[in-house]
Assembly symmetry: C2
Homo-oligomer: 224 residues x 2
């Protein structure tokens, strides 16, 4: 690719860049210190622009938050759920979610902390906004797929289909969130492990647990 | 036991009651709205006493927080870890932790939200205080027990011994935290399920996943 020559209309592209930079700055601040304490002035200061500039792109603080959800957080949700069609074998469907949660977090490292603080916490400011964006149809495909496989005698019948996605979040997002928040505590053995952990090792552990639990993954003969 | 007759020194008992009530009030406020925004005055107001009374029992805000950790949060940690001695079969040791996390949360319903907000979140005010109280010796007994069973060919060798406790926390504390925080969202199917869920059903799901994962829990023949 050659560098494009300066042309008229270039200010539009740079406008877009400034807007993207403000969104990135706001997302990082929301994740690291919380939405409640992050003012428009703080976002502007961090991005090296005036507060008026932030208002120019996002009108007000609420629209800035909406834009962070629509143009950042939603990308995370979409990347997790988009490939789910309900037809995959359930193990493959679930392993795919684990892989995508881990790989998408590599690209969006602010996500686990933002999720803990603003979605999971009481009074989190993204809870309502996230709830409105939950892909309910995909969630139902997911649970139906699992329930069907259980009825066919192919999947552990003691699992609750509706709880499996919650379990996958717990197994995956929690260590990712802990890895970030514990990285300043190298004295704790587990913190060290989590912070420095090869993500491939984490994925292997989570998948092994999801596939066979504590049991030896040897040849399995069903009782019936 | 007979009811003790009123005796001199009774004011001491009542003193103890007031102190306990203040601790309960502070714990609930810390859990529901966060430590950062909970002033001594707010605790006093909620408990129906003067701020001077809070200072009488706890000297300052920092000592109030320390007392909440020592006399409330530590009870939770202790109830989870105390029975661990490293000699139980690992499945039994892990199932016991799940049972105790769920049953202790019934008695201390403020714990999951407090944990999410003040331990797991970046900048959580209990993180350092909790880290100092992690029962490292028990954690090592736990991980050693698992590693031994793996070497003996009795436990899934692909699991990371150090990560299993993190997995148990994720599988157990996360739905407990979500059940509390989602209980005002009955329109979301999963929220409804989690909020109204019979804790026995949740325990069954978590244990089934930990014991066998997605695999059918039929007779298992190891490959070797």
């Amino acid at each position: 690719m050659t560098t494009p020559a300066p042309v008229r209309g270039r200010p539009l592209a740079s406008d877009q860049d400034s807007r993207e930079k403000l969104l990135d700055t706001a997302t990082l601040l929301f994740s690291s210190q919380g939405i409640a304490v992050t003012t428009v002035a703080a976002v502007a200061r961090q991005a090296g622009v005036t507060a008026a500039m932030v208002h120019y792109y996002f009108k007000n603080r609420d629209q800035l938050i909406e834009a962070v959800v629509d143009e950042r957080v939603s990308l995370f949700i979409r990347s997790i759920w988009e490939p789910i069609n309900g037809d995959q074998p359930p193990e493959q469907m679930i392993m795919g979610i684990v892989d995508r949660m881990i790989s998408t977090t590599e690209k969006m490292p602010w996500m686990p902390a933002l999720w803990v603080r603003e979605v999971l916490s009481d009074g989190g400011q993204l809870r309502e906004r996230m709830v409105r964006r939950v892909p309910l149809a995909k969630l139902m495909l997911f649970a139906d797929n699992i329930a069907r496989s259980q009825q066919a005698g192919q999947l552990n019948p003691q699992l609750q289909p509706d709880l499996i996605f919650v379990s996958v979040i717990g197994l995956t997002m929690l260590p990712l969130a802990m890895a970030r928040t514990l990285k300043d505590r190298p004295s704790l053995p587990i913190a060290h492990k989590l912070a420095l952990m090869d993500k491939a090792l984490l994925a292997r552990h989570i998948k092994a647990l999801l596939l066979h639990g504590l049991a030896m993954p040897g040849a399995t003969l069903s009782d019936d």
